[in-house]
Subunit: 208 residues, 2 copies
DNA sequence: ACCTGTCTACTGACTTGTCAGTAGAGCGCC
DNA sequence: GGCGCTCTACTGACAAGTCAGTAGACAGGT
């Protein structure tokens, strides 16, 4: 599974299918998405889609794999700076907002999986995420011990950040409906991100 | 739509259907849920289900209505104390954890709706929620002006609390898969709730 | 000649919703 | 107390439609 989700108009049928399939799975869920609709949106008949992807499940797996590859790359970049204390947290939160801004549909797919327990993602995804979480916990414990962060339950802190960022993107349409604003404009994203950072800084940063 | 979701074994077919339908819609989503499966779980044939509820959409609406009635009652109770400052926030967070503990399946249904923009909920739900949010914002502004809370973006603060509580319940199965613990045990709920309250207190309570 | 990408036409499985009919409880009435 | 009538709750069988996936033909490039 190689292809990543491009930002420009995709050249090949395979790339076009991946892009519209992500949007369709995000909007309708796995069960609700129709191969015929995805194919039509990509300008193809649905048997042609099945020529490129062996089955609906195969297409879904390819969509997940493509977006996951992008995510892994972006996360590696955000922690490569080897920052300390609150600065590292801020850097990760900013990276998350930036990544999901360009992959909002992927968040909705992930959220659906999370609701269902992630069975469709396969055991692999849990095995990928667990070490990432463990590393985060040990970072928080280390920085707290060094006095660069005020003490807080590390696991719950990470869960809260995950919840805040994911919800902002996955529930954007709902928030827009209830509040009347669009949470995905650059200004709204900045506002939400800064509010989260301000709250975290007030609670965690010894110098804040 | 009168019936509420009971905690004990439901006596009537209608109540049994509502209960297993909530579980099925939570687990599979609206599209993924099968009337036949719901009926079988309730010990009936599927035409009998359609005898009690005119259609799949009608059943879904009835499920939402029953749970929403419970939610409204619990929320009214939590704000009836007329508390001030951080105490009122803590009271609401505690009430939310308590309510969703007994209605975890309802959270998953709501989250699915949020992902899809809540179109199936009808305009009514937005009209119910908007005043609730407005009241929360004006409470936060009033208490901040009175010096009982440290200043923070009110809307984003509410969004963050919503995100934290909803995610804890809607993504419980996923968290359990990644971390190996069960987030819905009383101890885990207390831990998560207290972590959220500690963070909020550190950021908002002038005396904390 | 063969491979790639595409199409039209089709099938089988499955789902919602309908229909006609059954079992049994309740009720007035002679 | 037996009879006719109605109502609720329920069922099996079926109609209508949808969906994923298959078969086979066809066009264009190498």
């Amino acid at each position: 599974m190689e292809a990543s989700i491009s930002q420009t108009v995709p050249a090949t049928s395979r790339e076009r299918i991946l892009e519209v399939a992500l949007a369709e799975f995000a909007a309708c869920g796995y069960e609700g998405a129709r191969l015929q609709d995805i194919a039509r949106a990509a300008g193809l008949s649905h048997p042609t889609l099945l020529y490129h992807f062996e089955s609906k499940e195969g297409l879904y797996a390819a969509v997940i794999a493509a977006a996951t590859a992008d995510w892994a790359a972006e996360t590696r970049r955000a922690i490569s700076g080897n920052r300390q204390g609150f600065e590292q947290i801020a850097s990760l939160v900013e990276a998350a907002f930036h990544f999901f801004e360009t992959h909002a549909n992927f968040v909705r797919v992930l959220r659906r999986e999370a609701i269902e327990g992630g069975e469709r993602l396969g055991a692999a995804s849990a095995d990928v995420l667990a070490p990432f979480v463990a590393e985060g916990v040990s970072f928080l414990e280390r920085e707290t011990a060094a006095g660069r962060l005020r003490p807080h339950d590390p696991l719950e802190l990470m869960a809260l950040c995950y919840a805040a960022v994911f919800t902002h993107f996955s529930d954007a349409a709902f928030r827009s409906r209830v509040l009347g604003d669009d949470p995905l404009t650059p200004a709204a994203l900045r506002r939400s991100r800064d509010a989260l950072l301000a709250l975290l800084r007030a609670a965690l940063d010894p110098g804040g």
